[in-house]
């Protein structure tokens, strides 16, 4: 877990304020990444990351010596992001058992990618990563959120079901369809030719 957790320890600070600033700069990418991948909204992710660090500051005396501080930050960021989705995007609709996607309709929405000049030409690495991020963000919430929780946050299916308040079968179905939709989007954009050998 936490494959993107910072490994380099910050320079020994002079006072608590500098120590907190150094701590924040060390972990801000990880916290922001968690929030932005779940919400697919940069402004909301920045607000969430700010709230995470404000909460961390309130208990910084305990956290500074904790070995699981990265996990704590990720958990808080994940919970706040899910709360945001629940509050502002009516998660009950996205995660409802009666969602139409469960009836076997197509994957995610159509997304417009910049058309490659040569469809068979290899895409530059940075461009390719940007397209993957774009495709991930384009997935509907009910597919993207469990997909992110599984592949980035390393949560098991049952943990995801508990977090989202949906059934285990629903989580498995959404993740499966999310993967298929992601592959379809990337293939359609010319980012990959054979999704299973990218």
């Amino acid at each position: 877990m936490n494959h993107n957790e910072p490994t380099a320890s910050p320079v020994p600070p002079v006072n608590p304020e500098e120590e907190f600033t150094a701590f924040m700069r060390a972990y801000q990418d990880m916290v922001y990444a968690t929030a932005v991948r779940l919400t697919a909204n940069r402004a909301a992710a920045e607000d969430i990351a700010q709230e995470v660090f404000l909460r961390a500051h309130a208990r910084f005396d305990q956290l500074r010596t904790s070995a699981t501080i990265g996990g704590w930050l990720k958990t808080v960021a994940t919970n706040l992001a899910l709360n945001h989705l629940s509050r502002y995007r009516r998660r009950w609709r996205f995660f409802s058992e009666l969602r139409r996607e469960d009836t076997g309709e197509g994957p995610g929405p159509e997304v417009e990618f910049a058309a490659p000049d040569e469809p068979r030409a290899p895409v530059e690495a940075a461009e390719r990563r940007a397209r993957v991020e774009q495709a991930l963000a384009a997935l509907p919430d009910h597919q993207r959120v469990p997909l992110v929780l599984f592949h980035f946050e390393d949560l098991a299916y049952d943990e995801i079901a508990t977090r989202l308040g949906v059934s285990l079968a629903k989580v498995k179905t959404d993740i499966l369809r999310g993967r298929a939709a992601l592959a379809t989007l990337l293939r359609a954009s010319g980012t990959v030719h054979d999704p299973f050998q990218p």
């Binding site: 993107n4 916290v31 922001y32 592949h151 980035f152 592959a183 999704p195 050998q197 990218p198």
Partner: protein, 153 residues
């Protein structure tokens, strides 16, 4: 590409789509946080630091204020519970005493009101205008004083 497969979450031999998705997603570098994030957090911390204690979280209140608040709240809850259950003669006795102590004041107020009602109508209008003007001036003074004493957050 480093697939970074996690055996704890993926089956030992994941299907091609699962393995491809995992490898593709885990190859993404974490998006960089906006350069403004740290500044925003520090500015918000400074703003909260400037707030008076009663506008902060309860956990940040002075210990005496917290205990006073808890004592009053517990007392109020106890009185409410006693009143609701109807089992407290003590509360009835206390309310009776308060009513008895207030009765002389009520008599004075009644006499005062009767005296006022005997005044001419023009006098009453002038008195009402004076009272309204005084209250307006008092409200303005209190507002100005509050803005001077309590800094804006």
């Amino acid at each position: 590409m480093n697939p970074r497969l996690e055996p704890a979450r993926l089956p030992p031999e994941p299907d091609p789509l699962t393995a491809w998705t995992h490898a593709t997603l885990r190859s993404l570098p974490p998006p960089s946080a906006p350069a403004t994030l740290a500044g925003r957090v520090l500015a918000e911390l400074a703003r909260r630091e400037r707030l008076p204690w009663w506008r902060r979280d309860f956990a940040c209140w002075p210990r005496a204020a917290r205990w006073t608040f808890l004592t009053i709240a517990a007392g109020g809850a106890g009185c409410s519970a006693a009143a609701l259950t109807g089992g407290s003669h003590w509360l009835d006795a206390m309310l009776s005493r308060v009513a008895a102590a207030a009765s002389p004041l009520a008599s004075v107020a009644q006499s005062l009101l009767e005296g006022i009602l005997t005044l001419p109508a023009a006098w009453l209008q002038g008195l009402g205008f004076a009272v309204a003007t005084s209250l307006t001036i008092l409200l303005a003074l209190v507002t100005a004083l509050a803005r001077v004493v309590v800094p804006r957050s």
